[in-house]
Amino acid sequence: MIFYFAASLLVATVLCYLIFILKIYLQEQAIKNLDVETLNVGTDAQKDEEKIVFGYQKKVNDYGMLLQNHKFASNVFSFLEKDTLPNVWFYRFSMPMSQNQIDLAGEAETMDALSRQTSAFEKNEFVKKVSILNSDTGVLGKISFNLSLQLDPKIFNYITPPPPEIVEEETTNPEVILEPEMPAIDKLITSFDLPLDPEVVGVIDQEKRTVTLSVPQGTDLSALAPRINLSPKATVMPVPDEVVDFTTPVVYTVAAEDGSQQSYTVTVAIASASEQSAETSKSKTGIIFAIISLAALIIAVGLGIFFFLRKRSKDNNKNNVAQNGF
């Protein structure tokens, strides 16, 4: 009896091995199919939209960078008009913007006018330094001079109201009309990503002030370092790239340049679909194992009984033959 049971168990073991080979083959096929499907996710239209979105993201970043460095050169004219005395004239003007400097050549009625003019420039909040390169008294008693003004770069940020005759309604650039000296009030999280493989992009709800992310199964939620992009000049706590425990929702507080704040609740969860699929496959494995074990047991017991009965009938036949003398 034990022998037949053992033999049946051997058959069941081999069967089990073959079933695993089959299952592995099927899983490999499923992975291959999923790889192909993953590559094909996204229609051509969606991929075009992706290009456009990222193109504009880059453009907006570039535009922001250029605006930060943008200078309003014409502000200098208003400054000169305001601070030039009536008895002083300029006949040469040069302004290399990279040096924040104005070189002027002019004529003053008297030396006193020149000194008052220099003093007026020195008192101006936008003038850091005034240098008189030279001055010379002419034949008519007028003073020719060369001045060099070192300007505070802030002068190029300030914008004066435009003269009425040059207002262009159709081409007005609203970004230009903004007052750059005002502290920025924007305090938005514009992107929130987890640098995993593949990268996980957070879904930001600007109305509810929430960020939700779905990470693959097996990701350690207790140590994630998100990449965060904010409105210009805004700051955030915890700081970007800092390792944070996301096992529970985390509150990120964004502060604008003007000091105002707003909070975002960031929730990171294991991808529900993957969790489901993992659970499903786990329960499937359990069922398969139960079936295989049951099948192996039934086969083993069945074969054992079959061989035992067969042997018993053979023994009976032998006994009958011995008793009947055949």
């Binding site: 168990l9 999923l34 996710v41 969606q46 050169a73 002083v88 050549a105 004529e107 081409t171 593949p198």
Partner: protein, 196 residues
């Protein structure tokens, strides 16, 4: 066929153990690993699906703000057109009472080696009054296209006429900067704009 059944049973059991350890268990482990890989791939697939869905949402929001998008497009055009730039400078100069004496492209190169954003620098020689230059500068600064000024210079070799001697001029008798009421000047401007 006669054989020793206890020994055969022992051999079979031993074989079973060997089979389990060397064949079944490794296959089981491989099966589990593949199962995990499958879960991860499924998660990656779902994440990619969600990603494109999010891209679609962002795209829709972007299209809702088309006016702002167009302004950014105008500020930094995707394609560089020298012709339209030259036309723009000439048009604006004329509108503001300036004569374009010369217009030269002095530089067209990326703002840094890693960027595809290019800066295009034009040197412009203009002739006109000081007020016309101011209007021209304001036109550039208020244009939907982004212009930066690298350099402004103007002047004359002739000393200016004083207000007293220029009383016959059509310009106002008193002005904050006397340079503007006297005569036309040659202006040299270096203007920078951007394009991809």
């Amino acid at each position: 066929m006669d054989f020793n059944r206890p020994i055969a049973t022992a051999l079979i059991l031993f074989t079973i153990v060997l089979l389990i350890f060397f064949l079944v268990v490794p296959k089981y482990n491989q099966f589990k690993t593949l199962q995990q890989t499958l879960g991860e791939k499924q998660a990656a697939y779902d994440a990619k699906f969600a990603y494109y869905s999010e891209i679609g949402t962002i795209y829709a929001k972007l299209m809702e703000k088309k006016d702002i998008v167009e302004k950014i497009d105008n500020a930094i055009p995707s394609e560089l057109s020298y012709g339209s730039l030259v036309y723009f400078f000439q048009k604006k100069a004329l509108e503001n009472g300036l004569i374009v004496k010369g217009l030269f492209l002095s530089k067209a190169s990326p703002i840094n080696p890693d960027s595809d954003l290019r800066e295009i620098v034009f040197s412009i020689n203009l002739l006109g009054e000081y007020t016309a230059l101011k209007s021209f500068m304001a036109s550039l600064e208020r244009s939907s296209r982004l212009f930066d000024t690298n350099n402004i210079s103007f002047g004359t070799m002739v000393a200016p006429v004083t207000p007293a001697s220029s009383s016959s001029s059509k310009a106002p008798a008193k002005s904050p900067v006397q340079i503007q009421i006297i005569q036309t000047y040659p202006f040299q401007l270096e203007i920078k704009t951007y394009s991809y």
